[in-house]
């Protein structure tokens, strides 16, 4: 693996820069030696163990729980049911706050999905709590579960995803179809998928009067602090969330959920610390998932293979009581040039837990369908799929015509194709075999992800000894925030990262916003950058005003901060160390804050996206229909790369997820009961090493002067987009079979 810095030199002077270097994880040693503490590793004195009892029906009412049997079990301390559940300060049936969801917190005896919490058992040991929950032996008044297209209730939603409109139209698609030389239309189906973070949702809750301490994996520390406080009628400032490490989140740990609230409630009720950890199976319901979609793509094409119209319709499943809809159709809004684009989403209410954002929500499932449909269109036009995409390259943002702040997608196509060896690919399917007779196919997909930013704040403190402390309530769920955010701060301070202490992962630090939307590095990074620059500015004032300093009077010409010293910009030989400046000024430290800030005019004027191209080779056994993605090459352009090692790791993770989406992942709900029948990691399949034998991520240089002052875009989610379609298209190229329902199964490819 090459670890060169892919980014060009930053567009701003970055003397003494360490950003751009592939340094390893600052928390790596803790993790590989088992010293990194995850939420459930905390065992405060007097701890009780709480376990949810969950429903085995998807719709109806709990009519009886054998509370006496559970209470009689040795070690069981309390059973909470709707009959005795202490009050909450907020109604869980109402959506609260920006990411508010309706929650199941034992507010009544109704059951709205399988695996819904119906009671909580607290005990002196985990084993006693589990057995207590089993002894509840619930009886139900069940109603038929609505589990599919046949019995679900369709409705017109007010919004999709997180606040996007359910219908967006650019131009006149009907006119575009009327003018088309040919029309390609295809239906796609994507399954329910579950985040399945390695670390289950957990909480260790401790009350001290009206102050609450929560050890829990959390993707949005300060926002969650307020939300948890509100549910318990205490100020957010009274709630301390400690989340130094997350074993994955993928969107499922940014949102409140019923089980964790119940654990906190039990701790207050019982006046003892309480630990609650969901079992793997219990993660299939109350903590979100990627909802099922049924999508239809309709593409109008002119004689030269250019889109005349693009219509993307999606029917998206959600729960009977809340409204998160996978925004799959919106994936077609920004991808390709077309004079007319229409995206439309309809909702389908089922008796399931409410879906939520899951890594690349909408972009993953929508680009899967779009990229497969684009491949079908290329075939219809008799064109190479890459040439076809280039023929429909969007020079400006489709629909709005805004220029791109940067878009090195053409370079991604070229670099990826060269590394993959795309040239010479036969146009027709089923043309290639390997030495063992396996069918070989090549496919391509375009990758795209927007650049959302979140409000964020940070604080930087320069100490008398010339070291620094930087602080923000950042979130490291495995992506490397401990490392990358510290790099950005160290760069702003002109210090080696080893001389920067970074505090993060606790909610009483400045708000670092949400680790989501691939926006954490940009958002929290900007806040740290500005905090660091503000410290340096004040240090400069001290030095420039001090006649004893070699930098005296440098206020106008300015200074550069490098390796713990300020240098006159016009005379590098005149410099002074931070420690010397502080000592002479008699200041023990300098502290300054910073916040995420962008040029709002630029945000409005420019279209901002990360881009990429993924090339896939699959081999298919011609008799058995078994598929293996034997080579994946992704080339991505995402602005300035702060740490190529970690960015590559994000791309790898995304591409592997894409392989799982295409070939493995699906929750299997029993049509009659709505219960998920493969709620474990043996039967809910994600890729293993043998499924992704060759993986390459190319970091295509891209300079972006507008996206934000750091030039940083997001890398966390884009790897999934493009990959699913690339693999499906490669499967077609290998076999001649278009499989439009994910994941692709062996019987889809067995032929006659």
């Amino acid at each position: 693996m090459s670890l060169e810095t892919a980014s060009p030199l930053a567009p701003y002077p970055r003397h003494g820069s360490n950003a751009g270097q592939p340094i390893t994880r600052r928390d790596g040693e803790l993790k590989v030696t088992g010293q990194a503490t995850y939420a459930a590793d905390n065992h405060p004195e007097g701890l009780l163990y709480a376990v949810c009892a969950v429903s085995s029906i998807a719709r109806g009412r709990v009519t009886h729980l054998d509370v006496a049997a559970a209470m009689a079990h040795p070690g069981v301390v309390e059973v909470l049911t709707p009959a005795n559940r202490p009050p909450l300060a907020l109604d869980p049936n109402v959506k609260h706050g920006p990411f508010g969801f309706r929650l199941e917190v034992l507010q009544d005896d109704t059951v709205r999905y399988a695996n819904q919490p119906i009671a909580l058992v607290a005990a002196e040991s985990l084993e006693a709590a589990v057995e207590g929950a089993a002894l509840l032996n619930p009886r139900y008044e069940a109603q038929p579960a609505r589990t599919g297209l046949e019995d679900g209730q369709r409705y017109a939603p007010a919004g999709v995803g997180v606040g996007a409109p359910p219908r967006t139209a650019h131009g006149d698609v009907e006119a575009g179809f009327a003018a088309a030389a040919r029309i390609v239309e295809a239906d796609f189906e994507t399954p329910a998928q579950f985040h399945n973070a390695m670390e289950p949702h957990a909480v260790v809750a401790q009350w001290d009067g009206d102050r609450l301490t929560l050890d829990m994996p959390n993707q949005a520390l300060v926002m969650s602090r307020e939300a948890y406080g509100a549910f318990f009628g205490v100020p957010g400032a009274n709630v301390l969330i400690r989340s130094p490490f997350l074993g994955g989140g993928f969107g499922s740990k940014a949102i409140l959920n019923g089980p964790q609230l119940l654990g906190i409630l039990a701790a207050r009720h019982l006046k003892r610390p309480v630990k609650l950890v969901l079992s793997r199976a219990q993660m299939y319901g109350p903590v979100g998932h990627r909802g099922r979609t049924w999508q239809t793509l309709r593409l109008g094409l002119d004689g030269q293979g250019r889109l005349t119209a693009l219509r993307h319709r999606s029917l998206a499943a959600t729960s009977s009581f809340d409204d998160f809809l996978e925004p799959a159709a919106n994936a077609s809004l920004h991808a390709y040039a077309s004079p007319a684009i229409l995206s439309e989403t309809e909702g389908l209410r089922l008796d399931i837990g409410t879906p939520g954002p899951m890594r690349a929500p909408g972009e993953a499932s929508g680009s899967a369908a779009l990229e497969a449909a684009m491949d079908e269109a290329a075939e219809a036009c008799g064109m190479d799929p890459l040439d076809f995409r280039l023929a429909n390259y969007a020079e400006t943002e489709p629909g709005t015509g805004r220029p791109y702040s940067s878009k090195a997608l053409r370079e991604c196509y070229a670099e990826g194709a060269r590394a993959f060896g795309w040239a010479g690919r036969p146009l027709r399917p089923r043309q290639m075999r390997d030495a063992d007779g396996l069918l070989v196919g090549w496919g391509v997909g375009s990758a795209l992800f927007p650049c959302p930013h979140f409000p964020a704040e940070a604080r930087a403190t320069l100490r008398a000894d010339g070291t620094a402390l930087v602080e923000t309530a950042g979130v490291d769920m495995g992506q490397g925030a401990w490392t990358v955010l510290a790099q950005i701060a160290a760069e702003a301070l002109g210090l080696d990262p080893a001389r920067v202490e970074f505090r993060s992962g606790v909610s009483d630090l400045p708000d670092a916003g949400v680790a989501g939307g691939s926006g954490h590095t940009a958002s929290a990074g900007l806040a740290l950058h500005n905090a660091g620059q503000n410290v340096i500015a004040r240090l400069t004032e001290l030095a420039a005003a001090d006649p004893a300093s070699p930098l005296f009077g440098a206020g106008n010409v300015g200074v550069t901060a490098r390796d713990g010293r300020l240098h006159r910009r016009d005379d590098d030989s005149r410099s002074e160390s931070y420690a010397e400046i502080l000592a002479r000024a008699g200041q023990p430290l300098i502290t300054a804050s910073g916040r995420m800030a962008r040029d709002e005019e630029a945000v409005q004027s420019w279209a901002m996206y990360s881009h990429g191209a993924v090339f896939a080779e699959v081999k298919v056994d011609p008799d058995f229909g078994m598929v293996r993605a034997t080579r994946l090459v992704g080339a991505f352009a995402a602005g300035r790369i702060v740490n190529p090692r970690l960015v590559r790791s994000q791309y790898y993770g995304g591409m592997i997820w894409g392989a799982g989406f295409a070939l493995h992942e699906a929750a299997l709900a029993d049509r009659r009961t709505g219960r998920i029948m493969n709620a474990d990691l043996a039967e809910y399949r994600v890729p293993v090493n043998a499924d992704v034998p060759s993986l390459e991520a190319i970091l295509v240089p891209e300079e972006d002067r507008y996206v934000n002052p750091l030039g940083v875009k997001g890398v966390g989610e884009i790897g999934i987009t493009g990959t699913v379609g690339a693999i499906a298209n490669a499967v077609w190229h290998a076999t001649g079979v278009r499989v439009r329902r994910f994941p692709i199964h062996i019987e889809d490819l067995m032929g006659g």
Partner: protein, 352 residues
Amino acid sequence: MNRFDYIRPATAAEAIAAAAQPGSAYLAAGTNLVDLMKTGAARPERLVDITRLPGLDRIDWSPGGGARIGALVRNSDLAYDPAVRRAFPAVAEALLSGASPQLRNAATLGGNLLQRTRCAYFFDTASACNRRAPGAGCDAREGENRLHAILGWSEACIATHPSDVCVSLVALDAVVEIEGPDGAREIPLEALHRLPGDAPDQETALAAGELIVAVRLPPQAAAVASHARYLKIRERTSYAFAVVSAAAGLDLDGTTIRQARLALGGVAAKPWRARAAESVLEGAPADAATFARAAEAALAEARPSGDNAFKIELARRLIVRALSDALAGTPGQPPALPASPFAAPAGARHVA
């Protein structure tokens, strides 16, 4: 998890006496039983830990070349034993195609034989399952049953046995040595697992307290050593149970098949010895036409138990491939991906 007694006997006799009591279960590595206890699908009242019993973790060889494999021999130790690999390569390949290295380092041969079905309705205590709760019904029958049985199933149960190594062992006429309250006995492995009929809860021929102490492979089973493969179709490249699998062995006299061994996995509630197919093969020329006829014979009685008709055709194709691969010869080195079509030996035929 229910409260249970835990007993760690020092001798087989003590173990058998303890396990003969109702509600007992033997515990070896626990790679399957403990999972079932966590979901509540198994609720033993007494665990009899046999891992400290002496002498059950050895592989002994008879002068004629047969092997006696102790019930506590770990899957990894068995798979990587050079003599086992030489004499019974399909056993090693089957073992290496299952689970993960971590699990194989823990799991034992006896436990592998006695592992329970992976049918989701068996695991899910809210579902009706005649195997777990006699008379409850079978929710798999009209449920999510894409991967269920195609042979030997009944209206009462359509589950499959998930073992890989049992498939190779049953093809090689393995014998199970049993000790019990009434003394020692031995039965063919083929007779250990029972088809469901109307009593799917009667999973094996073992009586209460009976303990598998060893599995014997007869010397004759080594006759196919130079032409033996295990091949497994699964839904990811590794770490998945078989959709369908096959163990195939050929003993050739020139181009004629002197003796054939064929068994299927993932198709029935037991490892399925395909004797009708072996009859077709024996004495016939070792060629594609013969293999196709054998495949037809092996699946003659097959019928779908749900959304799984594709498994019948898949099994036919798999048999042809496994026999073709066996004809090509046992690989000198174990394949990088054991039992996988993605690790076919160079030059092996693939029929499009």
